[in-house]
Symmetry: C2
Subunit: 309 residues, 2 copies
Amino acid sequence: MTPPYLLFDVGGTDIKSALSDDAGNLMGIRRVPTRRGTANPAESLVDQLHGLGAELLAETPSVRPEAVGLLVCGIVDEAQGLGVFSANLGWRDAPLREMTSNAFALPVGFGHDVSTAGAAELQFGAGAALGTKVRNAVMLVIGTGIAAALFVDGRPLSAGGYAGELGHSAVPGGFECPCGAHGCLETIGSAGAIAKRYSLASGTPVRGAREVLEAMNAGDPIAARIWNEAIEAVSFSIAQLCASIAPEVVIIGGGLAQAGEALLEPLRRSVRGKLSYHREPLIVPAQLGEDAGLRGAFLKAKEARGAGA
Amino acid sequence: MTPPYLLFDVGGTDIKSALSDDAGNLMGIRRVPTRRGTANPAESLVDQLHGLGAELLAETPSVRPEAVGLLVCGIVDEAQGLGVFSANLGWRDAPLREMTSNAFALPVGFGHDVSTAGAAELQFGAGAALGTKVRNAVMLVIGTGIAAALFVDGRPLSAGGYAGELGHSAVPGGFECPCGAHGCLETIGSAGAIAKRYSLASGTPVRGAREVLEAMNAGDPIAARIWNEAIEAVSFSIAQLCASIAPEVVIIGGGLAQAGEALLEPLRRSVRGKLSYHREPLIVPAQLGEDAGLRGAFLKAKEARGAGA
């Protein structure tokens, strides 16, 4: 396998790791809980990554990795290689790229998890399926929370790591948010909010948004109201983007996207109803699933190897 | 004067024209009504520009212009040199750059009026006054309507001409808009809306937002309500941008910006109240006034001359 890459996709809950070859084929994918609550979260992360890398390489002793691809959650400064802030994992301005490079003695390609997964969706997944080069796109990941990656005029939009925080933009009908702002999209449009709001309103606890969709399909009016309010909220935020950055394509990923057309069809209708002369985006499902992050980490690792060679 | 540029800033109401030298010093600035209602709006415009250019050059017969800078309103495709759409002036997919270049037998630098005026504000006006290179900025022009220019990661954001249509993004409390959408910022946050809404609510017709501000300062509660609702609406849209493209600076221009701190101070407070971990932008007044467009046209003309040389 030449050249091999060591790939890590670090989320607030778990870390996915894998090896890949130069074509991006993933091998040995594993998922472990992210170590949390330590005094030195950045050191602790790099230590955990080093252990995971050793495990992957122990399985294929002949392999000599040539670069690492590392994605992390939170606010990320890709240019400087910094984990600027992670509410879940606790670091601030941590030089994660350099620390990881020192730990492995390898070049490290470093990026934001959602932003880089979005780049992979454009290159290998939903974007590739469209058959034309998409220059303006949004990848919206709707799960427990809501995150987004923005691509404008053919480039990822970073703004020092602060771009794409769609989950924490206000929508009509939104509620107080743990982030400290009011009305955040996440409080009404996320899979987490759908499940929580239905449990509260119906008195029937559910584990996820899928059960709310099933209840709606069985005729439950409370489920229908909460599902529709979520779609209305997400479409409000998409319509805002149509007026500001005007994407040609919106790719919907995350757990809620598993609802397929039950989500996408009314979402398209609701967005269309909010636009006039604006450019109406295609709204399509993500295609890479949970591996999008690792596929993105591969792009970063390959870039880092090229820069170092 | 070497090398001289012929500059035009074409709005829905009037055309500003001038000559400039290579440092961007404007000479012979004039403003005339834009010819409207003709059967061939693009041909009619280029004909009018040719006449204006002849007038400017007649005043300084020794001058040989080397390039033209042309800005137009509406949806503009700068890369292709097209006026894609203008609701006010009526063209669709008009090759304005090529037509103008043929009319003058000169290279033409072509751009969108608000976007290019924003670039001039960053380079010569409010951006220059900050003393640091601003990479992420929004120029918000609040007048009869509301338009915006977005700058991300150090570049203007175009999205094929559809970016920055902030006046036609929805805000809570917004009304039906002539554009066909509901709740557009322009229907509540523009100087035009402030004057119109006050006239209706008070039964006292006013000519502009300035009179509403004066009424508020004199203790009129209707004026205060309408002024504050406008600020709330504009701050909602700015906060949306803080979550999506995260500008470091928001430059406020247009007629309403003449209110100065009576607008800016409550606007800053209202934006701040809507953010949590987001990056809070500086909110500053534009500095170039009505010449921002011509200064931007100079940048475009200079670029076109460089490309042709």
